[in-house]
Symmetry: C2
Subunit: 736 residues, 2 copies
């Protein structure tokens, strides 16, 4: 923790907690100034100290720092809230007693961001960037801790795995949501060792489609997913975010249908009937169908064209034509996905979710359909359509002949088709492409390209500045065209710092869910298709070593520092993992059954030698065995309590114990005072006598008469003894 | 609630809360008396009033009543525990303030039973019947409330459904575990209306094996199971038992492997490693196999014999021989099950579970395997072995000929066999048997027979007494053979009451899980086989109307009144329901596919006209559609919050709100005192000046210099305004 305490935080960024970008470009001066004053005042009112500096041409940078006092108070408030929602076990000590040095930096930043963004009635300034009255507050973000980031990059490049402490550090800098991503990536990476080694062995000894590998692989998938579930619990206890989803903030975009008065809490709150939302959610079904068909058609068509050109067509320009499908795919698919995503977002807004969590979950689910199609459909087509049915389908590809009739000599094409036979290596090549090439390309696209673009952009800006300087020196100083913003009149010792800040402002915001999506899709290839080519895990293992570093690099250099968010899970992606590994149990069974015969020279299955019932039977068994095993593993996992969870539980227990004992002792003291310090026997006799007095009032009550027969246990004992003695034990024995 | 308040409880049973049966038959007098004194003293020490009466020949009845004071204290203690475990939302008021009249009778009895049974360190008397030092305490139980029971029986016999209040009453009398059973039975019964009506319609219009019915049926199963899950949440909120499973009592039979010192709680507790238990649990797999084979063999054999005799054999004595298989089944199956159950129990003990809940769950699972085999295997055999494959298998039944060779003339049998053809009605008849006949038989066996036996037993006892009286009158009064226990010297006004108590002592203990099992098995027939004969739900609907009453009758007259147990679920049976309805999605698909062709004249499927792939495909689809729909329904259910859950949540919320506001206001007061009542602006300026002073100490600190440039928001605003004014908005617009 030490690295992240406020004490060290002193070190960098001149103690700036948050930077607020205020753009006034589109306002006239008076408005702009007025707005600015409002902003500054609001910030000050919640106890934040402000400094204004020049941003770029049409914006200001408002630097914000929380005074210790206010911070303590805010921390206290958030702790109380946590305690009430059962996230903390211990009642927080009063504000003044809080030692800020023990707060992690992420917590500190989160609390301050709450100060800025929470609604006023919850003790915040209620500033919502780019929304409503604050729409000219264009960004609110903390500043990167450059030295630390650089140092970590250096350190990690030397080692294979991150230690638990390093994960804690990430969490302390960037908050739990990012922390969870890295923790997940890390355990996924570590788990990949086994299948990588095993896969390599299988590939070497058994080749593709080996049953052994398939079984082990899906078993591994089960264990990994269940292990991660357990890990989430462990981490959420370790990072004190267990059950944090209970504290949910309302979406600002939420449109309540009607205001209702909650009879018990007595306050009016806007509600939106769940049933109505469900009706709207039904639209997901047509949407899913739409997405599936739209993408399906595109991919299938391109696929067909590709087959046609590469394997049927032998007219002129073939060398060039073969690229057509690739071009088509890479042009059409992203466009279509973009369209679909925008539709999905519209749908999601229409569903009008109340909390942002619910919103994200719903959106993720919709987007996943699209991802699933784009990522896996091609392989599905090859494996379950092309390979088995090619010889039947291909003839129908004639249609394309019409298009190429002009170029191709009839007989040539026909002759070619007559002895057409499928390319056995196609399936494997495709899998290789998706699990190696695509990964590398992806890495380049998400990390390197943006980095270059970004630098180019900065160059351009700098260049611009120079040019403008020139014009300015030539032009008349007092002319209205003067562009003073260009010469930043920064105090020399701040210049460097402000330059960095201005750069960070230009960066875009980081979305952790993007990176999670990437990993889940990757896991999907492993679960669904790795039996085709057992080296898949090896490739992923290598890839993820880089992934972990490059993602961190990305966050540090290509995005603004994310505002810390608390979470206790990777959210909907967890279900996705489960779903994929389940589907895997089906696909791999099918793959193995269909192709295991001809592993070495790749599949060239013919529909004739595939028995429908046998295929389905193998699927049926593999799936149900999978589910059974999963069930067992789940139970086993629940039995093995993760260490931090145990710790957390025993804390709770201690808390209860302490309280319980205190109350009991208090009670006993009370006894001592109100009664003669007699042993409880006397006590009860006393109680009895009371009863006696009461009963004397209504002597007729049969119950009282019943209970008055014997006074105290001694008398009862005597009576009992009488009865016992009355019969010699010998007979007693007989009676048994 | 009113009917169950302590006030009314006054009315009956002479205010006896619990009866403790103390058997001294096997002890010699001195021991017996000593033990008795110990017992009475222990009871008195926890503040319970005692009265001793004569039991039967070799036992005493110790009547126990809790003094108001002690009761209040016990109630308070249990409430505090609940509160700490998050079962109650509100901190309980001090003991003296408790109004016992608001406590339900069940709660009252539960608290008192805790007083008697809880270990001493938890404030109980630590009396564990039939265990350790208390092994001659043979029973601890409350007494039935006869009038109320009778009244309810009368009332319910007139109406179809029990109202929510009546369920509450059951719960108030018998505790939540019984309450949950009746609530379940009730909602199951109510839910049966629809399939009963629909099934009747289908049976009338479409006959058996109609796809429509099958689809609707499994949809209904899904909805019912999910609805009940939701209902459980609702009830547990309504009855304030939500999360009650958190408070778990340790099993006394639990054998810890080693004592470990919990580093955080600091107390030593016996533990048993989960991994070791899991290894032991692996024995379940061989056990399941054993059970399956053992029962499978028996049932299959009898089945084969039956077919042989009824359809192949035509020698002499046929009329008598046909009963052989039935006799065999009803002789062997129960015996075998009994054996297996005992094995299961041994296994379960060997698994050495820590809490009694865990123990019950584990046992239930094991027993369910046995139940599954005995209940459903016969139908499975008919549906999926006999009908499709009879013509192939039957010839092999020749083996039996050897046994009957002496009687049967060869040619006769052969001729018969040659034109053998299966009995199409068999499947339906079997289903009818299991869903109608078996139900009625079951009802008789569990309710009527025991009732008769019980009365016979009492008659016998009375007769015995008379006989002994005679011998006594003849014999010498002072002789040691004198049998005084026979003439109960009860006070006349108590005689009637004591007679009843002595009867109740002789009754056995009630196990709610037995009744739950029965219902789940019944539900299984509905889910698995009802497509064969759509009238199944009708039969169950009728049956359950009786079931609900007869079960209540059973509890009241054939069992001791159960000690109230708290629970928030029907436990493992919930999973069983889910499992059965899932399996149903497979079986019904198979049934429909195989037999839908020949509905009217019953199935006579031949393996030839059943396509393996088509069968499997239909199963595959039906199962996955089922799972998808289930998923959707589950989500939908989670969205619709049950009313009581909402209430409970808003209570929690209120509690939090109150606390939160109090702390905040406290804080603000603190501010008022410690600072001049200036608006927060001044406050922050003050803070700034403090900072200033601090910084003056280390003026060199760049951060401080950065933050000292502008004092307060006003100055920042001025600077900002300067920058804004510096550039004419026109250019600002341009820059956009």
């Amino acid at each position: 923790m030490a690295t992240a305490t406020e004490a060290n935080a002193q070190g960098y960024n001149l103690q700036v907690d948050y930077v607020v970008q205020y753009s006034f470009g589109h306002l006239d001066q008076s408005q702009a100034i007025e707005q600015l004053e409002k902003l500054l005042q609001t910030l000050t009112e919640v106890g934040l100290q402000t400094e204004v500096r020049q941003g770029d041409e049409s914006s200001l940078l408002v630097f914000v720092r929380a005074s210790k006092k206010q911070l303590k108070r805010a921390v206290y408030r958030s702790r109380v809230r946590d305690w009430l929602y059962g996230i903390r076990n211990t009642e927080p000590e009063p504000a003044d007693a809080i030692d800020l040095a023990t707060e992690t930096e992420a917590d500190r930043l989160r609390v301050i961001s709450h100060l800025i963004t929470l609604p006023v009635q919850e003790g915040g300034a209620g500033i919502t960037p780019q929304h409503g009255e604050w729409k000219n507050v264009t960004a609110v973000f903390p500043l990167h801790d450059e030295e630390t980031n650089k140092r970590w990059m250096r350190e990690w490049s030397q080692k294979t795995f991150l230690s638990e402490e390093e994960l804690d550090q990430i969490r302390n800098k960037f908050g739990e949501s990012v922390g969870f991503y890295f923790a997940f990536l890390q355990s996924y990476f570590r788990f990949l060792i086994f299948p990588a080694a095993f896969g390599f062995g299988c590939w070497f000894l058994l080749g593709g489609f080996s049953i052994v590998y398939t079984v082990v692989n899906s078993l591994w998938c089960i264990i990994f997913v269940e292990y991660w579930k357990r890990q989430e619990v462990d981490l959420s206890c370790r990072w004190q975010t267990k059950g944090v989803s209970a504290v949910q903030t309302r979406r600002r975009q939420f449109k309540p249908e009607k205001e209702i008065q909650d009879e018990s809490t007595g306050e009016t709150r806007g509600v939106f009937p769940a049933t109505k939302r469900m009706q709207r959610q039904l639209l997901q079904i047509p949407f899913a169908l739409l997405a599936a068909t739209a993408l399906g058609v595109i991919i299938a068509t391109c696929f067909a064209i590709e087959i046609f050109i590469s394997e049927l067509y032998n007219g002129p320009f073939k060398t060039y034509l073969v690229f057509i499908p690739t071009i088509l795919v890479s042009a059409l698919v992203p466009t279509m996905s973009a369209v679909l995503v925008s539709i999905a977002t519209k749908l999601n807004n229409y569903e009008n979710h109340e909390t942002s969590d619910a919103y994200d979950v719903a959106l993720t689910q919709k987007v996943f359909v699209i991802n699933f199609m784009t990522s896996y459909l091609p392989v599905f087509l090859t494996a379950f359509v092309y390979v088995p049915f090619a010889s039947r389908i291909v003839p129908y590809l004639d249609v394309f002949h019409l298009t190429v009739r002009p170029f191709v000599s009839k007989e040539a094409s026909t002759t070619k088709r007559s002895h057409f036979q499928i390319d056995p290596a196609r399936l494997r090549n495709q899998v290789v492409y998706f699990t190696v090439t695509a990964q590398i390309v992806g890495f380049a696209m998400e990390t390197i390209v943006p980095y270059i673009k970004q630098h180019a952009f900065r160059e351009y800006k700098a260049f611009n500045k120079k040019r403008q300087n020139k014009t300015e020196h030539n032009g008349d100083k007092e002319s209205p065209e003067r562009v003073p913003a260009v010469v930043y009149d920064d105090p020399p010792e701040e210049a460097q710092f402000l330059k960095r800040v201005r750069n960070e402002v230009d960066l875009s915001e980081y979305e952790v869910t993007e990176d999670l999506r990437e990993m889940c899709i990757q896991f999907g290839y492993l679960a669904l298709f790795s039996p085709v080519w057992p080296l898949v895990p090896v490739s992923f293992f290598a890839n993820n070593w880089i992934e972990l570093r490059s993602d961190f690099f990305k966050i540090c250099n290509e995005f603004r520092r994310p505002t810390p968010l608390r979470t206790d899970t990777i959210g909907p992606w967890l279900d996705t993992l489960g779903f994929l590994s389940w589907t895997g149990s089906i696909t791999s069974a099918a793959l193995v059954y269909m192709f295991s015969g001809n592993a070495q020279h790749g599949p060239n299955g013919e529909p004739t030698d595939i028995k429908g019932w046998a295929l389905l039977l193998s699927i049926f068994f593999s799936e149900h065995i999978y589910l059974a095993v999963q069930h067992v593993v789940q139970i086993a996992m629940t039995k093995l309590e993760p260490p931090n969870a145990r710790k957390e539980r025993s804390e709770r227990y201690l808390m209860r114990k302490r309280y319980f004992e205190s109350t009991l002792s208090a009670q006993n003291d009370a006894d001592q005072t109100e009664e003669s310090p007699s042993e409880s026997l006397g006590l009860s006799r006393k109680a009895l006598e009371e009863d006696a007095r009461q009963s004397s009032l209504h002597e007729t009550d049969p119950a009282e008469r019943f209970w008055m027969r014997q006074h105290g246990w001694a008398e009862s004992a005597k009576v009992g003894a009488g009865i016992i003695q009355a019969r010699p034990t010998s007979t007693g024995k007989k009676e048994q």
